[in-house]
């Protein structure tokens, strides 16, 4: 845990990224499949870097909500793209951490010399979510498909009752607790005493920062339009504290949470959305050969998980464990970072994570530290907006954040907090199942 990676170790370079604008569920991309969207994001990346016809060493990508037809999603996407069809690809899944996990996989292969260039990414469609049928109907369908004669086929359905025909709606409830992610987070929100005002302020900042980034053309080389959408559909540039304050709470209403009144609204929770993102990574040599400037390097990554089932810790609190572990291994503190990107599953997720890292008792008892781990300078947090404003197509979020942060670090170049050194950024993405994926990037 305390071994420091050698600074001479080869690091994967981030060349650039591409994503499609994130759409609201059931809206602009309602007719698009995971493969359609991932192909669009990949094609934009291929065009941006002139890679048509090139054979890459690896493409890793995944989706959280996956149809059975999405078998071999990443490889099928490659085959539908302009890349050389001999480009190998594999699927990844770690819930909302899927995109980041895919990027870690590609970055590690590059760092180990097993690959020179690859793409990591992710896609999710909540509009085109797979519908699960009842077990009895599923068994009947399978029986019918095996039947050889029409009477046998009909017999297969004989035992069905009307209730068996109702589809099982997809939801984001945790299988082991039956609680939705929002209800889980409501428990954490109450436990850390996160106020409605703080959550709304964070949501407002997310919208304002994202709107300002669009305004200055920041996304010109990060985003390719898709299906007539040129901007993230959830973005509300005109939102205000008053508008956010008017929204009714949607999670934590059942009173079981105790503590402060329910405070999680549609305004300070991420919307369900559709989208895809991709990131191009390579060795420094590969990039230099093609005259492609490097934006940033992947320094290190860390995952963690909490025992949320036993109620020992919140479902989305694993970031508070992964970040200290990652920073300790690299001999860094929160003060060493110019930029911090914490995925806003809910505004209160970010606030609870920050509160935990600042809390002496938590850090002593849960992390085994001598005192509080540290404080994130809020002016360095999610400076071009994050999931609350952009939307959160689960597996697409990691690529969005890595692409954004790598460009921000390149723009900054030299660190403000550590003069003379390169700017550094920290990423944390929480995920279902009580997990979190974190990563350190450094400006090239």
């Amino acid at each position: 845990m305390t071994s420091t990676p050698s600074t001479q170790a080869p690091r994967a370079a981030i060349i650039g990224s591409n994503r499609i604008p994130f759409a609201k569920a059931g809206s602009a991309y309602a007719g698009a499949s995971n493969q359609d969207m991932l192909t669009a994001a990949l094609e934009g990346l291929v065009a941006r870097f002139g890679l048509a016809g090139e054979r890459l060493d690896e493409v890793a990508a995944g989706a959280v909500l996956k149809h059975s037809r999405d078998f071999n999603l990443a490889r099928e996407t490659v085959l539908g793209s302009s890349l050389d069809p001999r480009t190998p690809a594999y699927d990844v899944q770690r819930a909302c951490g899927t995109g980041l996990e895919a990027i870690i996989g590609v970055a590690n292969k590059i760092a180990l010399g097993q690959a020179s260039v690859g793409v990591g990414g992710g896609v999710d469609s909540t509009s085109d979510a797979p519908i699960v049928v009842s077990d009895r109907l599923r068994k009947a369908l399978l029986r019918a498909s095996r039947a050889k004669t029409l009477p046998d086929r009909l017999k297969a359905f004989a035992s069905l009752r009307p209730r068996d025909l109702a589809p099982v709606a997809p939801d984001v409830a945790e299988p082991r607790t039956g609680l939705s992610m929002g209800e889980h987070q409501a428990l954490t929100t109450a436990r850390w005493g996160i106020t409605r005002e703080d959550q709304d302020a964070l949501a407002l900042a997310s919208h304002q920062n994202l709107a300002a980034a669009y305004e200055r053309g920041f996304f010109e080389d990060l985003l390719t339009p898709y299906r007539r959408l040129t901007r993230d559909e959830s973005l509300r540039a005109d939102t205000s504290p008053e508008k956010l304050a008017k929204l009714k709470p949607v999670f934590g209403k059942n009173g079981t949470t105790g503590g402060p009144a329910a405070s999680m609204t549609a305004g300070n929770s991420t919307p369900l959305s559709d989208g895809a993102s991709t990131v191009l990574l390579s060795s420094d040599e590969w990039a230099a050969e093609r005259g492609l400037p490097v934006l940033a390097h992947v320094v290190d990554a860390q995952v963690a998980a909490t025992d949320f089932v036993g109620g020992q810790e919140g479902l989305l609190m694993a970031g508070a464990y992964a970040i200290p572990a990652l920073l300790e291994r690299n001999g860094m503190t929160l003060e060493d970072f110019d930029l911090v990107e914490i995925h806003e599953a809910f505004a209160s997720t970010v606030l609870a994570t920050l509160a935990a890292l600042e809390d002496e008792d938590f850090c002593r008892t849960r992390l085994g530290l001598d005192g509080a781990f540290g404080k994130v300078d809020r002016s360095r947090l999610n400076v071009t907006g994050s999931s609350l404003a952009a939307g959160h197509p689960f597996a697409a979020t990691g690529g969005r954040i890595v692409g954004t942060l790598a460009k921000l670090l390149r723009e900054q170049g030299e660190s403000e907090v550590r003069p003379g050194q390169r700017a550094r950024g920290l990423i944390s993405v929480c995920a279902a199942g009580g997990q979190a994926v974190t990563m350190i990037l450094e400006a090239a």
């Binding site: 941006r48 002139g50 302009s82």
Partner: protein, 470 residues
């Protein structure tokens, strides 16, 4: 986008009906097959004629045509089953208008034997009234004999009239050589090859000036742009996309630029040509620097700039709003002007396989004017002025600056014109049809090529000899 009328008059019952009714019968034009570029170069043997004083130059030229494996003849008799693929008339020796009669009548005697998609190309000398150096400092307008001037300029009216007589997709064009430029100079050969080939399908009734013997012949005529790096603005669709495809077919690395909102179409076009997509608004102050940075980082150099991006804001001047006028000028003329402040500086373009080339999209609306297009006409005429002004300085640095002026081209943009005016616009040209984006692209690719180094400051119309303007 398709011309239904053209299809009807060229097939079956409707074809004979159209013939009986005496309706215009536009021909299917001979266009380049991307899988075998320039094969065949002409649809039949090539006849070389000349005026009495130009026989030696005609011999030189004929020898050059033989190098391209063409069936070259000096005798105008043709066996029954044959038709002329092209007639090249060398008129470089004219000293008096009467010198034109013999070669003109000889050409006339063979026109009925011209194959569909055939070519008539004249070579003549610059009339003193048409000053070769656009800056007007070479003094060539002084002291010329009126008879010589009359003879030379007479070719202009002769050629344009011949073009209007031709049928079945055949065209007539001329190369006008400045005094001192040999008939086997690279740009004369390059220009001749362009006009003979299917690449010039929609160029008709045009006289293209060759000002110097600059330029070089390509190693491979089918891929003259091999190793060059070209940027095309407005590359996401229409003419820009066609330019990207033709430049790539001719061997160039293409960087396609378009506004971020058109990024998806841009990606598709660039992946098709294995190019690089750059989402960028060309009205940005630093647009040229950003294009240059991408080109130099990826390929080490930038050789060719095609200013294609443009918008339409049509409105009668009486109803014109300030934003419609100003927005159009900003995109169509101010942006290319500003970008050229960077691109036209010595040493910025070139350095690789290609010489510096700047090619801009003008329009026949900028030459003849068009009702409801005062803003567009001003901007496109401005392109012609800008092209002339930059020709001197860029030419001295070894490059060229030219423009292409499309007439009625079948694009998404012109598809929005109501059917009747659209059909009338098509019939308003000698070829009685609209051109295709690829026709404009072919002309641009030619002007971008190394063999066009002696052509500078020109505006080449790609309009099927539209009956307005020149």
């Amino acid at each position: 986008m398709s011309d239904t009328y053209l299809e009807l008059v060229n097939s079956g019952v409707t074809a004979s009906l159209a013939k009986k009714l005496g309706l215009p019968r536009p021909a299917r034009l001979r266009r380049t097959d991307p899988s075998s570029v320039d094969r065949p170069l002409t649809p039949g043997p090539v006849l070389v004629l000349s005026d009495a004083r130009a026989t030696t130059e005609a011999d030189t030229l004929a020898q050059g045509l033989l190098d391209w494996d063409l069936d070259v003849r000096r005798d105008s008799r043709l066996s029954d089953h044959e038709r002329w693929g092209a007639v090249v008339v060398v008129l470089t020796g004219l000293e008096h208008p009467r010198d034109l009669a013999a070669p003109a009548l000889e050409l006339g005697s063979v026109l009925r034997g011209l194959a569909p998609g055939g070519r008539v190309v004249t070579l003549s000398r610059t009339s003193p009234a048409v000053v070769a150096d656009p800056s007007g400092t070479d003094g060539s307008g002084d002291g010329a004999a009126p008879a010589v001037a009359a003879a030379r300029h007479g070719v202009d009216g002769f050629l344009r009239s011949v073009a209007k007589e031709l049928r079945a997709g055949a065209t007539a064009n001329g190369l006008v050589l400045a005094d001192g430029v040999a008939v086997d100079a690279p740009s004369v050969r390059g220009g001749l090859r362009f006009l003979l080939s299917a690449r010039s399908a929609f160029v008709d009734g045009q006289l293209l000036q060759v000002g110097t013997d600059g330029g070089t012949e390509p190693a491979d005529w089918a891929r003259p742009l091999a190793g060059t790096v070209a940027v095309v603005t407005g590359a996401a669709r229409g003419i820009g996309a066609a330019v990207a495809r033709v430049l790539a077919r001719d061997g160039a690395h293409v960087i396609g630029v378009d506004v971020p909102a058109a990024g998806d179409s841009l990606s598709a076009v660039m992946n098709e040509v294995a190019g690089v997509a750059l989402q960028l608004d060309i009205t940005a102050e630093d647009a040229a620097e950003r294009i240059l940075a991408v080109a130099r980082s990826r390929y080490g150099h930038l050789d060719v700039v095609v200013h294609n991006a443009g918008i339409l804001r049509d409105k009668l001047l009486a109803n014109m709003t300030p934003d419609r006028f100003e927005d159009l000028l900003a995109v169509n003329i101010t942006a290319p002007l500003r970008m050229n402040e960077t691109f036209a500086r010595p040493g910025v373009l070139g350095g690789g396989a290609g010489a510096p080339r700047i090619i801009s999209l003008a329009s026949t609306s900028g030459i003849a004017g068009n009702r409801g297009q005062t803003n567009y006409g001003a901007a496109k005429a401005g392109i012609i002025g800008m092209t002339r002004a930059l020709a001197g300085p860029v030419g001295r640095a070894g490059g060229t600056v030219n423009a292409v002026a499309p007439g009625f081209i079948e694009t998404d943009m012109t598809a929005r014109i109501p059917p009747l005016p659209r059909q009338i616009a098509r019939w308003g040209s000698s070829l009685q049809q609209g051109g295709r984006p690829v026709d404009v692209a072919e002309a641009i690719a030619f002007l971008a090529s190394p063999q066009a180094g002696g052509i500078n400051g020109q505006t080449l119309r790609v309009c099927g000899q539209m009956l307005v303007g020149q």
